[in-house]
């Protein structure tokens, strides 16, 4: 399975893989088989991740140019991407690349990843500065028209499989009412919502 992790919370995914699951991590700067941070003194200036930081390469790794890297992403070869988010709306559209006039970093590979990966998971905080990040409609410029598959926050797991935000799980010790109160989007709440098992 080929997986691309975004910067921030998504990077943590690599530290919580189930035993026995073999995953190749891609760094879009041109590496499959991205490993952990090198031990002190073992960093190589031309072995880096998409944040420009030194990494290691695992056995079976491969390197390639940016055209190949984005061919993998757009061409249906990337099984999963986990990305950070600024807002997700109730139809699953993600905004994660700019806050106009405030934060203009450029979209980098985000638009290609959301448009091209087979499955898109957003890992983010549920609420920022008192405002829900799961909104009726994105007020920030969106990253792609393609809806994401799943949002995972500290409060809930929400799916968008049928075009509507549907609660799948609550966080440990979090009630359904707490999730609903922290969610601006219209949330479909089926009966018997299980708690996340960590």
């Amino acid at each position: 399975m080929l997986v691309n992790l975004g910067i921030g919370i998504p990077t943590q995914v690599a530290n919580h893989l189930p035993a026995g699951l073999h995953v190749f991590f891609q760094s879009e700067n041109g590496l499959i088989g991205t490993g952990s941070i090198p031990e002190e003194g073992m960093a190589h200036p031309t072995l880096t991740d998409a944040a420009g930081q030194p990494v290691t390469a695992l056995p079976g790794a491969s390197t390639f140019d940016s055209a190949m890297s984005f061919g993998l992403i757009r061409g249906g070869h990337l099984d999963l991407t986990v990305l950070g988010g600024l807002q997700v709306d109730q139809s699953g559209r993600l905004a994660n690349w700019t806050i106009p006039n405030k934060m203009v970093p450029g979209m980098g590979g985000a638009m290609d990843l959301v448009s091209g990966a087979k499955r898109v998971i957003v890992a983010m905080q549920h609420v920022a500065k008192g405002a829900s990040k799961i909104v009726k409609r994105c007020t920030l410029p969106i990253t792609s028209m393609r809806p994401v598959d799943l949002v995972v926050t500290e409060l809930a797991v929400i799916t968008f499989c049928d075009g509507r935000a549907t609660l799948l799980e609550t966080g440990p010790g979090v009630s359904v009412d707490q999730v609903v109160a922290a969610t601006d989007a219209e949330l479909v709440v089926p009966a018997n919502i299980p708690e996340m098992s960590l």
Binding site: H44, T63, D65, P105, G106, G108, A110, I142
Partner: protein, 215 residues
């Protein structure tokens, strides 16, 4: 292919030229050519590259020294100086999705007028672009990019100009080498012909115009 000194290399680049530069956050950028561009005080260059690195590194140095008139890049998030100059109207920045940017360059180097991609549809990246439907699916027409110069960093160059690259320092380098009128290469190692086996040549020698001599 000609071997050339660093100073001569940069004297070939006139003010106002368009320049593609390899590198991803400075990794795989021909740093000594960048330094010489700053030293010679070039002005009004248009740079086409993945990003503008950090203010003290790679293309970031060109931003800091106000060498650039325009940057066509996918990411400026680690260079606050690029953002500041952009907001102040001193530097024109065209932000392009990374996969679209590399394909536009590839198209320029491969004799294509452009590419069709679904990336960017319905987002600000669609502004001013034509939508084309193929087999019932919408795509954006992204036009080809070429430049006057490509500044390439290789890991190994042989005396004829065959190139191979190192790990993640490859990134945009072999693609820009196809898309410029004049291709200039800086290499970590310059070796006799034959040291790079034919299977491991990534950029073939006839593509390269100038190899910068090592100091």
């Amino acid at each position: 292919m000609h071997t050339i000194s660093l100073g001569q290399t940069v004297r070939m680049i006139p003010d106002g030229a368009s320049v593609m530069i390899g590198g991803f956050l400075g990794v795989g950028t021909p740093e000594r050519i960048v330094d010489e561009i700053v030293r010679q005080g070039k002005r009004d260059l248009t740079v086409i590259a993945n990003d503008t690195a950090t203010p003290d590194r790679g293309i970031g140095k060109l931003v800091a020294a106000k060498v650039l008139r325009k940057a066509i890049v996918s990411h400026i998030g680690l260079n606050p100086e690029t953002q500041r100059q952009m907001m102040a109207g001193d530097l024109e920045v065209e932000l392009v999705p990374q996969g679209t940017l590399i394909e536009r360059i590839r198209a320029g180097g491969f004799g294509l007028g452009g590419v069709l991609t679904q990336t960017g549809i319905g987002t600000p990246a669609e502004l001013g672009k034509q939508r084309i439907e193929v087999d019932g699916k919408p795509y954006l027409l992204e036009t080809a990019l070429r430049a006057d110069f490509a500044l390439v960093q290789a890991f190994i160059a042989d005396y004829l100009g065959n190139l191979s690259y190192a790990l993640t320092a490859r990134n945009f380098n072999p693609v820009i080498a196809m898309a410029a009128e004049t291709v200039i290469v800086s290499a970590d190692n310059i070796v006799p012909v034959g040291v790079i086996s034919p299977d491991h040549v990534v950029t073939p020698a006839p593509i390269v115009d100038y190899l910068v001599a090592n100091a």
